[in-house]
């Protein structure tokens, strides 16, 4: 099947993202890339756990005094919901319903932006308290872990938005279907990482 | 074929010669001539491991040479197509199981010794008076020199570790600036001095050091720590327990010794003026000084840990320490001049005489 073939919902393949060799490569490659990202975040998590609450003598910041669960919970909800909406988007992509896919992707982006806004608010709040990046080993490792995740969210948002804009006039074809699919895959991954951050950093920080 | 075998014989003969030669390593620094219990056990492990490994190398080499000599194309014929053998389960099992057995033979003493060498429980044992029974030395590695504190005796020395023979000596190891590693090859294996945490281990000194060439064992820094890493040597004096007690007493006797700025001795006055900020001349001055404690300098074996112990070298050192140990902290940050400024030749001469005279043994 060619990239330029025009499709109808009937001729559209069940797994459009893997219908071409390029698409198949992209999906396999992206899964492997995610495996590599898992190790990347694992290293950051391990470092964070080793340096949690460690700082210069007499440092008063601890996970208990700093983190607030309601905010982190709100962020979690936003991101989890956005993951669900991206599932809807891919569902419609597979059904060759371009408009619905774009709509759900749009909602995903908005939720992601909400998450990012809350994260910026959170960081800003901590900096206001004096918990800056340079304040201690704890702060450096916290901002590196959560910040790397935030950076991934930003990249994901730019990516999805670019895809939506670029293809707004063209609709779906076998060339861009794998692109939408892997972008959604990336978004799920970001979501999974956040679940771990929520558990390890916030839940275990406040309760454990 | 005979020619090949002859070459091989020559080669193995050479190898044996090499091993023989290495046995002649110097007894004050070679791990092959250990003078301490820990080093001896490590040497035995080395022999066991070398034995097993030589066996492996010999077996592999023999099969390999046989295969090579038997199946040359010039022998089997140019156009012969050998049988395409897929493999052999029996052989696979044999060369899986035999190495496992060999490794187990090695692994058992390895694990035992690992735990044994890490056992420092006796460090905290006390007698009925509440005094520690074991000798502990706190080692602090600093950029290119070593500080040795004896917490139970309340004394400090530097660059030359003094220990009694015939008992376990426990070490607390720490680095003050960057990571170093504490190693006395002839006595036993090394342990790192980290900046983050205290490492503990023990060594035993079986032999007094006075019969050695320089009267000391050689100690080394084994972790890259900057330009002068290669020169971060220290020496170890192993004394009989009585001689050690005498040494401790004479170190304690220097309590309160303080160079006087107004002294008639130019050396002492210069020392008080220019050196005292970093160097102490009393054995009880406590640890943590910026420069090595010089109380027993006159008794030492080396200037700056590696230069021959004479006044000429000491004078040259004082004049420009950076020339001998690049990057050392007696120089300013740019490494252009000593932090104590320029001294006149006269002052340096007097200073060297004064420092050479600092002794607890003479």
């Amino acid at each position: 099947m060619d990239f330029n073939t025009k499709f109808t919902p009937h001729t559209w393949p069940d797994h459009p993202e893997q219908a071409t060799m390029e698409g198949k490569n992209k999906v396999v490659g992206f899964w492997i890339f995610l495996a590599c990202e898992v190790v990347l975040f694992a290293s950051l998590f391990a470092t964070y756990l080793a340096l949690k609450n460690k700082g210069p003598a007499g440092m008063e910041f601890t996970t208990q005094s700093l983190f607030e669960l309601p905010l982190a919970f709100a962020m979690t909800m936003l991101l989890l919901t956005s993951s669900l909406t991206s599932v809807y988007a891919i569902y419609h992509m597979r059904n060759f319903n371009f408009k619905a896919m774009q709509t759900w992707l749009g909602i995903t982006v908005l939720l992601g932006l909400g998450f990012l806004g809350l994260e910026i608010y959170e960081f800003n709040h901590y900096v206001g308290l004096g918990f800056t990046f340079n304040q201690s080993a704890f702060s450096t490792s916290f901002y590196s872990l959560v910040g790397t995740h935030g950076f991934h969210v930003t990249l994901g948002l730019v990516w999805i938005t670019t895809l939506m804009l670029r293809n707004a006039k063209r609709g779906l074809n076998l060339y861009n279907a794998p692109k939408f699919f892997v972008a959604a895959l990336y978004w799920h991954f970001i979501d999974v990482v956040w679940v771990f951050i929520f558990t390890v950093v916030y839940l275990m920080g406040v309760i454990g | 074929m005979m020619k090949g075998l002859k070459k091989w014989r020559l080669f193995s003969l050479l190898a044996v010669m090499m091993v023989f030669l290495s046995g002649c390593g110097e007894d004050y620094i070679s791990t092959l001539k250990p003078s301490g219990q820990v080093g001896k056990e490590q040497f035995n492990l080395l022999m066991l491991a070398t034995g097993i490994m030589t066996l492996v190398v010999v077996i592999v080499s023999v099969i390999y040479l046989l295969a090579f000599l038997k199946f040359r194309r010039s022998k089997v014929g140019e156009n012969v197509i050998p049988k395409q053998v897929e493999g052999s389960h029996t052989l696979e099992i044999i060369w899986t199981v035999i190495p496992i057995i060999l490794l187990l033979i090695l692994a058992v003493p390895v694990v035992t010794a690992t735990y044994k060498f890490a056992d420092v429980a006796a460090m905290d044992e006390v007698d009925e008076n509440g005094d520690k029974t074991a000798l502990t030395v706190n080692v602090t590695a600093k950029l290119y020199w070593w500080e040795f504190e004896y917490p139970n005796q309340g004394i400090v020395t530097a660059q030359e570790l003094v220990v009694p023979t015939g008992q376990k000596v426990y070490f607390n190891l720490k680095a003050a600036d960057v990571k170093h590693s504490f190693w006395i090859p002839a006595i036993g294996g090394k342990m790192d001095t980290n900046v983050d945490n205290l490492n503990k281990f023990y060594l035993e000194f079986d032999k007094e050091s006075k019969d050695l060439k320089d009267g000391v064992f050689y100690g080394k820094c084994a972790e890259l720590c900057g330009p002068s890493h290669a020169l971060m040597d220290f020496k170890v004096k192993a004394l009989s327990p009585d001689a050690f007690d005498t040494w401790v007493a004479s170190m304690k006797a220097t309590d309160g010794k303080m160079p006087d700025k107004t002294s008639a001795d130019l050396g002492e006055a210069t020392f008080a003026q220019s050196c005292m900020g970093c160097h102490a001349v009393s054995g009880t001055s406590g640890p943590g000084s910026k420069g090595p404690n010089l109380t027993a300098f006159g008794d030492r074996n080396r200037v700056a840990g590696f230069l021959e112990h004479n006044e000429e070298n000491l004078k040259a050192w004082i004049k420009d320490p950076g020339q001998f140990k690049p990057g050392n902290l007696m120089m300013n940050a740019e490494g252009t001049a000593p932090i104590y400024g320029d001294l006149t030749d006269e002052e340096i001469q007097a200073l060297a005489t004064y420092i050479m005279g600092l002794s607890v043994e003479k």
Binding site: G29, C36, S43, T47, K54, G55, P56, F133, N134, Q135, A137, T140, Y175 | M18, S22, G25, E26, I29, S30, E41, Q42, V56, V57, S61, Y64, F71, R73, P82, V85, L91, E92, W95, T96, P99, I100, L103, L106, A107, V110, V111, A113, T114, F117, V178, K179, S181, G189, K190, M191, D192, V195, N199, K200, C221, A222, G226, P227, A230, F306, P326
Partner: protein, 627 residues
């Protein structure tokens, strides 16, 4: 379309190489770049050996010696061995599995340029205030203490070239999973492709910890972070763990493809299929897996406690078992074969005992209590050079001879090749055999000088003589390579004993590799066809249109952006260089701009039509086509 067959001008050729996505051209580029850095790092080693020739020598200064030892190790591992093996992987993997290119030709080019510009950046340090000087391990307390920008060059240079390596590794995995020709099942893949697969998987899991470690070092040194500053609650041991979680698998990343190369050479010149193919595959995977379980054996003296040391000691010993399996399988491949001692085979034959010697000293060092004596002494220097030179460099030299006709359609001179082997091989043993004893006699590694009277003088002298011989060997090798330019075309399967698909392709190899996708009928498909008297491999399809990727300059632009950004980050801590932050932003803008451009602009590749193919082949092989 005659554009494929025309001669090009110099400018056009350069542009062609900058924009190429052809795996064979990239392989040649990796080969050239790797050789360049191999020569630089080798020269650094010679300088160090000359300094250590006699006690108390003052040939080079202490500070410069530390820069040399750091750059020698870093360059050899990251910028010489890795790209040289990538050269073979790039060239051979698609040919061995019957593919027309790798899965992501664009990423292949990106991987190369990131590696090359990262390497270039690192080497600029010599001219811009001093190279890194904290060892290739760059342990945190020393590297934070180290003044100047040397360590910053290390961190940024490795970050960029490491990203390139990671991308290439990912590419190979996908290529091997999805691009195999019909009939090329996993258990029919040549062993080199297998090792390339496992090694790429190791890259994938080993490089991220290094990336994170380097990122932390970057934050600490350039942006005021506190990961490794113990006064701020940081911990330097984290660096050691992250570095070795990467660093140990890195050894296997390099040595597995070397095993793979020998597993191609030995069967070819024994005229016998690889003995115990399936157990070789199993051993490769097992080594790769165990490689991740043993990193702390580099840290026995750090003070992790007896339990950690004991576990890691035993785990490390376990690696000897699959490695031993490999050695015996090689020997049994020779056994009953018909051995032709060509230069590549000579390297293979020299490799077996050398590597076994390096392996057994590895087991000795795995014995934790014994390692307390051996660690950071010259014994370890001897050990890893036996593994790396005896294992990897002999593989590279041997394979260069073996695969030169695949790369360049020329043969290297056999006589000169054998002379090179003996000079290099004897020099190698002379250099490193005595170093075992230097270590046992108490000589620490990474020392810029040593005093007389410690019993080390004689062996150090011998070692230097050996190093000079190795230098001569490398020069002979380069002369041989240069001489081959004037040689005659080698043609298809010039050794006569080729077994795998790459030897079935007529020379010179067209840029689309296979006019028709081959049909693989078993292990060693070319051997099978030859045994059945066929002059040509069986094809899976008739001659038809071929889809090929377009060239692109974007990978180069992306890499240049990173290169520029690195200078910005480097000078960020300097108060007198306020412009640095703008350089950083500009560099990143170029990189991300190029990425978005790539994303927005469709790139469908192009189709090569049947008539064009026939025209190209007529040009390459003369009238009458491919016969």
């Amino acid at each position: 379309m005659s554009s494929y067959t025309q001669k090009k001008g110099f400018g056009a050729t350069v542009w062609d190489y900058i924009t190429t996505v052809d795996h064979k051209k990239l392989a040649v580029m990796y080969l050239l770049a790797g050789t360049l850095f191999f020569a630089i790092a080798g020269f650094e080693a010679l300088l160090m050996r000359i300094q250590l020739m006699k006690p108390n020598n003052d040939f080079i200064s202490a500070g410069f010696f530390n820069e040399l030892l750091t750059m020698h190790g870093t360059t050899m591992l990251f910028l010489a061995a890795t790209p040289l093996l990538f050269a073979f992987m790039n060239m051979l993997v698609p040919l061995q599995i019957g593919a027309r290119d790798v899965a992501f030709p664009f990423l292949n080019s990106l991987g190369f340029w990131l590696f090359f510009l990262g390497a270039l950046f690192l080497h600029l340090s010599f001219f811009m205030g001093g190279a890194p000087d904290a060892g290739w391990t760059s342990y945190a307390s020393l590297s934070l203490y180290s003044p100047g920008h040397g360590i910053d060059f290390y961190v940024l240079g490795l970050q960029i070239s490491g990203a390139g390596t990671l991308i290439s590794g990912l590419n190979f995995i996908v290529t091997i999973i999805t691009m195999r020709a019909p009939g090329m099942t996993f258990m029919r893949m040549p062993l080199f492709t297998w090792t390339a697969l496992v090694s790429s998987a190791l890259i994938l899991f080993a490089f991220p910890p290094l990336t994170i470690g380097l990122l932390m070092m970057l934050f600490d040194r350039m942006f005021g972070g506190n990961f490794f500053d113990h006064t701020m609650g940081g911990n330097t041991i984290i660096w050691e763990h992250l570095f070795w979680i990467f660093g140990h698998p890195e050894v296997y990343i390099l040595v597995l493809p070397a095993f793979g190369l020998f597993s191609e050479i030995i069967p070819a010149f024994s005229r016998k299929r690889l003995f115990g193919y399936s157990s070789m595959v199993f051993a490769t995977i097992l080594i790769g897996f165990l490689g991740f379980m043993v990193w702390a054996h580099h840290m026995f003296t750090v003070g992790l406690g007896p339990t950690a040391n004991a576990i890691f000691a035993v785990a490390t010993m376990a690696i000897a078992v699959p490695t031993g399996m490999k050695v015996f399988n090689w020997i049994l491949t020779i056994w009953g074969g018909s051995i032709k001692v060509t230069t590549p085979m000579l390297y293979a034959l020299g490799f077996i005992p050398s590597f076994v010697a390096g392996g057994v000293t590895g087991v000795m060092q795995a014995s934790a209590p014994l390692d307390y004596q051996l660690h950071d002494s010259y014994f370890i220097v001897a050990h890893f050079h036996y593994v790396i030179v005896g294992g990897i460099v002999t593989a590279l030299f041997g394979s260069a001879h073996f695969y030169w006709p695949i790369f360049f359609n020329r043969m290297l001179n056999e006589t000169l090749g054998k002379i090179t082997f003996w000079v290099f091989f004897i020099g190698f043993h002379l250099t490193f055999f005595v170093q075992h004893f230097l270590g046992l006699m108490g000589m620490p590694r990474r020392v810029f000088t040593y005093m007389e009277g410690q019993g080390w003088d004689q062996f150090n002298y011998i070692s230097t003589i050996g190093a000079l011989m190795m230098g001569v060997g490398v020069i002979l090798m380069v002369i041989n390579c240069l001489m081959s330019i004037k040689g005659k075309p080698a043609g298809r399967d010039p050794w006569g004993d080729g077994r795998t698909l790459e030897w079935s392709i007529p020379q010179p190899i067209p840029f689309y590799n296979f006019r028709q996708t081959p049909l693989v009928r078993g292990l060693d498909p070319w051997w099978i066809e030859k045994q059945e008297g066929n002059k040509e491999i069986t094809f899976a399809e008739p001659v038809g249109d071929i889809h090929m990727p377009n060239n692109s300059a974007i990978p180069f632009v992306i890499s240049i952006g990173m290169f520029i950004a690195a200078f910005g980050a480097l000078y960020n801590p300097d108060a007198d260089k306020p412009w640095s932050i703008y350089v950083l932003i500009a560099g990143l803008a170029i990189t991300f701009g190029a990425m978005i451009f790539r994303s927005v602009k469709d790139d469908h590749g192009f189709h090569l039509h049947k008539e064009e193919i026939l025209e190209i082949e007529e040009h390459l092989y003369g009238k009458g086509g491919n016969k």
